[in-house]
């Protein structure tokens, strides 16, 4: 039976963060499932405009970008979305849409995607009502997020399913594991430098990512490893830049820390190759796509042990989780990794292990199975 599927998102293409990346892969998967099954699939994005679409993920006819126009979205929802069979709400802030559609078309299956911090806080009336009465399934990106949904919002555990993120189907996956020469040159590095790498948004409003801890750890490690370098990447605001620079000079690591700012998708894999270790001892990752991206380039990972990151490293199989507040543990773990540099062969093995768990094909099958289950019940 043909189905009409709509994925609602706040923003998918015009900015790049974990949620946006996950939505791109999800849209890609749904687009291909729909093509196979001859279903009708659409991605509707409130803040993107139609020019923002990245054509590799889905065709222009499957995408509507409302360019911030809430009235445009409301109008189109009332006109078209009420004929949908499955509606996937990719952010809790779009709960009202779920409520409206469900009221007008009770048969429609409404799913919510729960990522991370956006659902780990108290909800307002509409969000609560949506969750309790109108939402058929909560797709959680990690077991941790699922546990939070049950604990904080008393969601029915049977309604919550875990769908771990997958590697972006268009990520450039390396086959050789050399450090890219152009990046070594760009930062005046030599292959002998031991490079620790963090990629995250550096926002003064989100101080839970743990890179401060890494800066402090580098301050200690530079004695043991004089050739150590710490590349801290991601967009930053000026307040945060000042704060980080102060910390850097306080720790005396001006020579070791390299702030790169925003990285382009095109060069992302090369940065993972440049590094010897990826470290992000964050406390509030819903899943942490960046971890699986690092692993997909054969880069070992250290993450925090108190959030969704655990799923990304398969509970220790692919990386090491530590207590993000424990500087000694962080220093010790980094030391262990740096003392035993990975060979190209080992990196390749790590890559294939990661792809075994987080590949797009399994991801697609998992989604299809969830849809089938919905209709089997």
């Amino acid at each position: 039976m043909s189905k009409k599927v709509i994925l609602f998102s706040l923003q998918t293409f015009s900015t790049t963060g974990g949620i946006q990346k996950m939505t791109r892969t999800l849209a890609y998967a749904l687009f291909h499932i729909a093509k196979q099954k001859e279903w009708d699939f659409k991605l509707w994005s409130l803040y993107d405009s139609r020019y923002d679409l990245m054509g590799q993920y889905l065709a222009p006819e499957n995408f509507v970008g409302f360019g911030r126009s809430k009235s445009g979205l409301a109008f189109k929802t009332l006109r078209t979305a009420i004929h949908a069979d499955i509606v996937v709400i990719s952010h809790i802030n779009l709960a009202l849409i779920g409520v409206v559609i469900k009221i007008l078309r009770p048969k429609c299956k409404i799913w919510l995607v729960a990522h991370g911090i956006e659902v780990w806080r108290p909800f307002n009336f509409i969000k609560r009502t949506f969750l309790e009465r109108f939402c058929n399934k909560i797709v959680c990106v990690s077991s941790f997020t699922k546990a939070q949904m049950v604990r904080l919002h008393h969601s029915d555990p049977d309604k919550c399913v875990v769908l771990n993120n997958a590697i972006d189907p268009f990520m450039h996956l390396p086959v050789e594991f050399e450090k890219p020469e152009y990046l070594l040159n760009r930062y005046s590095l030599v292959p002998e430098n031991k490079v620790i790498f963090t990629l995250t948004r550096l926002a003064s409003s989100e101080q839970y990512k743990g890179y401060e801890q890494v800066i402090k750890a580098v301050g200690r490690l530079k004695i043991k490893f004089p050739e150590i370098k710490y590349i801290l990447s991601g967009q930053y605001d000026s307040t945060e830049e000042m704060r980080i620079r102060d910390l850097i000079s306080l720790c005396g690591v001006e020579e070791q820390v390299i702030l790169t700012g925003f990285l382009t998708e095109k060069e992302l894999a090369d940065y993972f190759l440049l590094a010897d270790l990826f470290v992000l001892p964050s406390k509030k990752e819903g899943f942490g796509i960046v971890f699986i991206e690092a692993l997909a380039c054969g880069l070992p990972v250290i993450c925090g042990n108190a959030d969704g990151s655990i799923d990304a490293i398969r509970d220790g199989e692919l990386g090491t989780a530590i207590n993000a507040d424990d500087l000694d543990e962080l220093e010790k773990t980094i030391t262990t990794y740096l003392k035993k540099p990975m060979t190209a062969h080992a990196r390749q093995k790590l890559q294939s292990q990661c792809l075994l768990h987080f590949n797009e094909l399994d991801y697609m099958n998992h989604i299809l199975q969830l849809i089938n289950n919905e209709y089997a019940n």
Binding site: Y51, D52, G67, K70, Y182, N185, R245, L259, G261
Partner: protein
Amino acid sequence: MCRIAGIISKRLKAEETGEKVRIMCQALQHGGPDDEGIFCDQQTGLVFGHRRLSIIDLSRNGHQPMADADQRAWITFNGEIYNYIPLKQQLLALGAKFRSETDTEVIIQAYLHWGMAAFSKLRGIFAFALYDIERSLTYLVRDSSGVKPLYYHIENGQLSFASEVRALKKAGIATDADSAWKIRFLAYGHIPEPYTTLKNVYSLPKGEFLCWNHKKDTCDIHSYHVVQRKTPVIDAEEAREAVRSALTIAVTRQLIADAPIGVFLSGGIDSSLITLLANQQKHACLKTISIYFNEKAYDERMYQNLILKEIEGEKFAHLVRQKDFEEFLPRIIENMDIPTTDGINTWFISKYAHEDGLKAVLSGVGADELFGGYPSFSRIKHLKTLHGFEPMIFRAAKYFTSDRFKKVSFLAYNHPTADYLLLRGHYIPSDIAKILDTDLNYVEDILFSNKQLPYISNYNEEDAAWFETNLYMQNQLLRDTDVMGMSHGLEVRVPFLDEDFKRLAESITLDVRFDDRQPKKLLIDSFADILPRAIWDRSKMGFTFPLQQWMRENAEINDESLYQGKMAQSIVRNFKKNTMHWSKVFALYQIRMHE
């Protein structure tokens, strides 16, 4: 200095490649009148061409393409390396051997000693191709401020490049027009990088290099330049001191030349400052070039004279009359290489500088972008408020007849390009669709599918500076300045864009760097002791010609029958009634000339 060209092709016969490069060099002759050189490497199918304008080491030793003594690497280079002397000393200490006094040889040795890391050590304005024989790689490299142009074309495993688009066309390498160039041109008033008028001919982004692998016939493009931000300057006094010393260093560094060098003086703040600083170094040897008009409203002589009386060297002032404009307009359009609605001013002043015997001049380009000299710096703040409204309501603005209000319809697009075009654009998409008789959706797709722009959210002076520097200055001012200067064999140098000066300016916190009431206040305050008050305490003039009047009186531009379509003809009628800006009609006129 100079113009460069080249082809790497295993497909073409060696003679054929050589011939094409020769044709390209001929097409670029105006920018390199002093010498020509060709280098062929039959094995890889590589040919480099060079037209020389000698400024440093005027002897035959500066002949290009050039190789090191052991012929490990070949280069064809356009531009100047201002820090070549300290780099040469470092290289000598490492054991490098030099045969000439040129900066060109310093690039080769820097590469042979430091590899790709050499590129970011260079301070200057440059575009070059460097062939590393041993590793079988060729690099195309462009300076980090994008002052010197470099266009490339890749097709069927063949790479071609040149300093101007016309060369690629003349040699028959790229002949098809880019179907979207007219749309971009009408929206921006120029063709924004990386696009050109030709299909598959792109401009290499500033601060990036293209690496061609001769074994695989493939290439990668990456940036070599990293903006390593300095510790923020938060104190106003400290900022003034730093600006003063960094600009003095930049001007001194850029005065390096073995050929006669001068300064463009318009009478505004920026060129006055550069002139005064250059005078402190060159004294009687500094020549100044300025322009004046019979039209009183545009006559800046009063301000120019305030500066000139402080200057020791030779002063050249030239009158530009309407009849000069009439006489030279066809040549100006021919010299543009790519259509643009600006550059007429630079064309004339470069012409006179050349006639006065100069080979290089300093210009004040870049200060407005760094220190908030444009109205966009205050206007951008309103965009944030306006973006809070439902975008749909702005759609109706396209029905306004007044240009100013029409542009409000850009807000409906909610896109950084649309924000820029609201501040700086020429025609709105619906008018472009009508002028070109094409589909509006297509026009919108062309204009807004650009994914290279950053996400703008603060709408503060820093965002305005980003727009002005990376879009307006890059695509219009710098490109026009280079191509117009070069059409007279004149190199235009831009001290405000010196890497170290720019880095300093960008590290100054916004509240110190910009002032709501006085544009460029920090720059003015930094040089309060030498810059006369009358120069800065007046409304901004810019380097402006009386073009509204001249074009309205130009028979051809005003000939309605020249233009096709009702829309274009109505624009010309409005221009005649003086309710339309000259640049919009000039854009239509150039499109007509290209048909």
